[in-house]
Amino acid sequence: MYGNAYIDPNQTNKLTADEDPVKLAEFEARIQAGEKIEPADWMPKEYRKQLIRMIEQHAHSEIIGALPEGTWITRAPGFRRKLALMAKVQDEVGHAQLLYSAAETLGKSREDMINDLITGKSKYSNVFNYPALTWADSAVIAWLIDAGAIVNQLANSKGSYGPYCRALERICYEESFHLKYGHDNVVHLATGTKKQREMVQEALTRWWPPIMHFFGPSDKISVHSETLMKWKVKMASNDAMRQQFLDMYVPKIWDLGLTLPDPNLRKNPETKLWEYTEPDWEEFKRVINGDGPCNAERLAVRRMAEEKGRWVRRAILGENAEYVKPFA
């Protein structure tokens, strides 16, 4: 479950300054021709760096993304929901495993990435810094956050780096279950008792601002990197993905008679584009820099998991253990 890579605008300068021009040209021609780059290939330093950053953020988002819904794992109502929520949260952990593996092929070990996560050095999707207050929040997350993630991941699965594309194909396949489960869950609440309907409406109202933040800052204020687009690291602009998401899901939300907390939200019949109140990007920045409702808890929980697992990992490591980068 992931929105879009947060690329630090200060880091996208001089991407190719000291690269071998011949190798760079071959590399770019390969991507231009629609071929994938594989781990053993030559690649520009900046390509490697940005991909590690992006895949790592994505992996962290999966493992941290397991926490808001995990809040309800012991309380899911009825066997069907209980089993499905467990399977869904488990899938998120599985996705983290796949993505860490893909990032590892670029030369950073899983442990180094997890270290950077728990020390706050690397980011994850902002949306998981918000709390899942009620069962209905977990339903809204499963439906709409996963829906947003699929929009992003389908785009990225057409990117240029082979291992990331392969991981994303598997992830998208699994997330289609999440989306169905989430939709089914929201529909049951929205068409259920008065209380259930209230729960889901309140959850949707709470989650709408983070969902609008999900794809990252507006293109108007976000720094574009043409090079990253050319290298097929970044596949679609933040606004383009947000539009696609709104187009696919707002009608489905309205169809259930639910309301969204934005009086300006509408599809302009002439431009065919969705219009909305500009999300609060100052809040987005505040939360991404650590000051959200759940940042501290999310990292503390992840630290706990690592710390509780430490003696287990040590005991079974074996004397001849030798870390090897995944092959593909």
Partner: protein, 129 residues
Amino acid sequence: MAEENNEKIDSLDPRIMRASLDHSDIDPLESLDQFQTFEVFHQAKRGAQHQHVGIVHAPNPEMALLYAKEQYARRGVTANLWVVPSKYVFATSYFDDDMFDTTPEKIHRDPATYKVMDKIKEYKERQEA
């Protein structure tokens, strides 16, 4: 980043409340925590080829197989799994992939290029003439 302090975390998640967490930092993981890497091959049905599906990290082959089952075979059908230490995989270099360039042109291996029916037809016509 949370400030280092011992204030307890107030979570909505009852599991986390039971764990009674605080905000304190932990020591970084050591590189020693890194397990070996195994490439995983999945066979859907008897008779089918095993296909490479990804990797697991595990301390030994026995654990790697236990993990491969749940990471790569928890959906769909499976007949068999292999795990192979990544360090034992040897591959050609993509840099040398031009050595495969002319392979598709080597049509003497291609059954579709053997067209005897034309010859037979022509022969029969000649005989009848």
